[in-house]
Amino acid sequence: MTSDIAAILGIDGIATGAVYALVAIGTVLIFTVTRVIFIPFGDIAAFTALTLAALDAKRFPGTGSLVVVLACLATLIEILSLLRAGELRLLPRALLFYLVLPLAVVGAAWLTMRIEPPLVVRLVLALMLITPIAPLLDRIVFRPIADGSVLLLLTVSVALHYALVGLGLLFFGPEGVRTEPLTSFSTEFAGVLVSGQTMLIVIAALLFSGLLYLFFDFTLVGKSLRATAVNRTGSRLMGIRPARAGTIAYLLGSLMAGVSGILIAPVNTVFYDSGFLIGLKAFVGAIVGGMTSYPGAAIGAVGVGILESFASFESSALKDVIVFSLLIPILIWRSLASLHSEEEIEE
């Protein structure tokens, strides 16, 4: 391997890694606030790409129908749980959040479609359509078992991923898509050609991590999310609703997953089931950060991207084997690193 090839692989890896980083940060966000290891984030990313492709092709994306179905389900469940709790006065609010808002988003997207909007609007539409999915899934799937063990939540999350893959095939069909590059700009960097798309990916990853940092450190909502992450009961006593914190976390997380989906769509062909590997690799990155640190997750995800890039050069067939085998030493390292705290908790 010459240094030229290494540089190309490195840049390629950083770009892939930056995409994983966005998903990884979302994963950490959800995990810290709700303790759910949200495997389907990769699916959300893939669905965004598919949504954008459908919009580009002037077809109304399946995401719309998916959101409608999920919104109806969530509303039904919410009404049932309100009935059981005897809190029907909260019904208008529930209808607004679980039915009217998602349907309004879908309706707005459907109307905007008519006028053949420019690319920027299509990007916004794709993100708008994708963001309600995770919060609705949270209401339907995770809220009833929010106090379960991490393992139970993980098992449910894995099952949910399979449901989503099936729905993806149903709503988007088996064809893979590759969208138009967002920019045709390219430049030479240290003797290696770097495409504008790559730069865009890295910039987006940096930008969103930065925004998240600001959000968590300088806004009350961000702080309430952090409080929920540290101690659910304690924050409940302080008047923070963990359920609401969870919804915000899911919204933010799916926004990040959506952005990563848009960024990856012009680089890789995306299928309805591409999300699993994106999600899992992001997840490997998140584990590097111990599932709690955002910079750690970002660095880990970029590391996974670079590793994958070099591994696929050495043996493209075995690149996934290499990436996932690497997870085991990382897990051991993390588990050892977290042993101290557990020892002290036992005191």
């Binding site: 290891i37 799937v141 009833p144 078992i145 991490v150 393992l151 139970l152 993980l154 098992t155 449910v156 894995v158 099952a159 949910l160 399979y162 449901a163 893959v165 099936g166 729905l167 095939l169 149903l170 899992l280 490997v284 584990i287 067939a317 075995l318 996934d320 084997v321 996932f324 085998s325 997870l327 085991i328 897990l331 051991i332 993390r334 588990s335 977290s338 042993l339 557990e342 020892e343 002290e344 036992e346 005191e347």
Partner: protein, 589 residues
């Protein structure tokens, strides 16, 4: 219901299974074969996940390793499938042992995540290795033959499959009812208790893990020679989830639940395939996985305990006989009264900047009750954990019965003769009183895996049961040995912990705040019990802050305050010591 009724039901089930192929259609027999093959994996998972508390998403990979191994031996190299069986099982167990050694020390969800990781890695391997047919798989795998009789049709291999399932169930239930099985069942709920009983938790986990993998390998072998063709598909991560689902639906922790779960999931999948096209034409394949995942999620939300435990609640309880007298287990040589038993020399333990225990020294002599007391935060529990090996001292030395145990693991210290109880009671609530106490005898007995599974341990098992009953009677809980430990009130749970500790035949009994949370009557009874134990020449070390309880009971007291030893002496002397009064009540104003 008695044991006899259970045996009768089992025989009836076996007869039904044996007659089934003569009644059922060929399609149903094939379905039954799949159920049997999946059952083996699900039974393994019931052991691993339900019993041992290790959630594995990767069992499908083990099935695959064995299936590919036997296909490689028989289809590609032309040897007998039986050689393939040996190779497959050995290879799978070796892979599992290596993975287990590497990953089983991981905690909680880290461990499960690692199973996702290696499950995926191995799954990808099948499709990408040169010489294993890549994604086309391996075809023309020969059938299994017994002598010259080849098991070609599904009605023929049926008997082999269900014979193996029945044998596995029998051996599995035997195992769970043996010394090793009880240790496995104790894994769920944390290592601290398990280690304190002298059980090497890691080893038990590893054994459980390898057993589950071995069962998966049997399944893989049968699968390869039944379908006569393998490709990576049936061994991918999705199938790993499905196996987990089977064992959870059937009832995690129940071996029979593995079979029931495999049957329910397979039949459900089959009927979903039949009926979904009626609801949505042309989209059945996609909807199948959606419907299936949705059902699984609903199941996890609303009926987590599974089918078998649910049904078992409505069946009459199995009446058990009280253990019969049996030859006693061998006892430890006890030191002479008054001999130096435990010596703590300059112990120090820091947590970051906080010195929890600072240069503490004291001695315990055989036959006495010594109390370590002190106000909240005095370092009592830290001291206690250092003695029992739950924590290590940073400085100083602990010598027990003439041997330094400063650096020993918890289980070694337990085996040396220190038995403990816990401040926050640690019992296995779903095991009976008798079984909880039998856990205590682990270090005194030696029945291994095979002896347990094949019931070659009758004598030792009888002695163990009798010993446990005797200890229950000794502490006054002998009237209902088959009650579940979780049903006892807190006071009795603490007493039960003492019975369990006694079952280990300890030289030194260490009790961590035994009176905490007890009512007055319960405290009196506890004190009475400890007095009788002292009369039996047992040495007892109590960590406690209930002064009244301690003063009337113990021979000597060591007072800790802010991590340091304040003073030491007889209760009367401690009571009048000004430093102690100041520590407890504040300075004289």
């Amino acid at each position: 219901m008695t044991r006899f009724h259970v045996q009768l039901a089992a025989i009836a089930a076996v007869v039904c299974l044996a007659l089934a192929p003569f009644v059922l259609s060929p399609f149903s027999i094939t379905l039954m074969n799949y159920i049997g093959i999946y059952s083996l994996v699900a039974i393994g998972l019931a052991l691993l996940t339900g019993v041992g508390g290790i959630v594995s998403f990767g069992q499908a990979a083990f099935v695959g390793v064995a299936a590919y191994a036997t296909a490689w031996v028989s289809a590609l190299n032309g040897y007998s499938p039986w050689l393939g069986l040996v190779f497959g099982v050995v290879l799978t167990c070796a892979v599992a042992a290596i993975l287990g050694v590497v990953t089983l020390r991981l905690q909680g969800h880290f461990l499960s995540l690692s199973t996702v990781a290696w499950g995926l890695a191995i799954g990808f391997l099948f499709g990408n290795v040169e010489g294993l047919g890549r994604f086309n798989g391996i075809s023309s795998i020969p059938p299994i033959s017994i002598g010259s009789f080849a098991l070609v049709s599904s009605a023929q291999i049926y008997f082999l499959i269900w014979g193996i399932v029945a044998a596995v169930l029998l051996l599995g239930y035997n195992l769970l009812d043996s010394r090793l099985g009880r240790a496995m069942r104790a894994l769920r709920g944390g290592n601290t208790l398990v280690e304190s009983l002298g059980i090497n938790a890691f080893r038990i986990k590893l054994v459980t893990f390898v057993i589950a993998a071995a069962l998966a390998s049997l399944s893989g072998w049968l699968y390869a020679h039944m379908s006569r063709f393998i490709s990576p598909g049936p061994f991918d991560a999705g199938m790993g989830i499905e196996y987990l689902m089977m064992s959870m639906v059937g009832g995690a922790g129940s071996l029979l639940g593995g079979v029931v779960g495999a049957a329910v999931v397979t039949l459900l999948k089959n009927s979903v395939q039949d009926y979904l096209p009626l609801i949505a034409k042309g989209a059945s394949g996609q909807l199948e996985i959606v419907a299936f995942s949705a059902l699984f999620i609903l199941f996890l939300q609303w009926a987590r305990q599974g089918i078998v435990p649910f049904v078992a609640r409505y069946l009459p309880k199995i009446r058990r006989e009280r253990p019969q007298p049996a030859p006693p287990l061998p006892r430890r040589a006890q030191p002479a009264p008054g001999e130096l038993l435990l010596k703590v020399e300059g112990a120090e333990r820091r947590f970051g900047g906080l010195v929890a225990v600072n240069n503490v020294s004291f001695e315990v002599r055989s036959g006495e009750i010594l109390a370590v007391i002190g106000p909240n935060g005095a370092g009592k529990s830290t001291m206690f954990n250092c003695l029992t090996g739950a924590l290590r001292v940073n400085k100083g030395e602990v010598v027990f019965a003439g041997r330094p145990i400063t650096r020993d693991a918890q289980s070694r210290i337990a085996r040396a003769g220190i038995a403990r109880t816990f401040q926050h009671v640690k019992l296995r609530p779903r095991m009976s009183l008798l079984e909880n106490v039998m856990l205590g005898t682990y270090a005194r007995t030696r029945t291994g895996l095979l002896a347990g599974a094949f019931r070659l341990n009758r004598h030792e098992e009888a002695s163990t049961r009798h010993e446990a009953l005797m200890q229950l009677e000794r502490v006054g809980l002998g009237d209902k040995p088959f009650e579940l430990a979780g049903n006892l009130p807190l006071g009795n749970q603490r007493i039960l912990e003492i019975a369990r500790a006694l079952a280990a035949d300890p030289t030194l009994l260490v009790l961590d705040e035994p009176a905490a949370g007890l009512r007055r009557q319960e405290k009196l009874r506890l004190a009475e019990l400890l007095r009788t134990l002292r009369a039996d020449n047992l040495t007892i070390l109590i960590v406690e802050h209930d002064m009244e309880f301690v003063m009337s009971l113990v021979d000597r007291i060591v007072v800790l305050d802010f991590g340091s030893k304040l003073c030491e002496g007889a209760p009367a002397a401690i009571r009048s010591d000004e430093r102690v009064q100041e520590a407890y009540l504040g300075g004289v104003a």
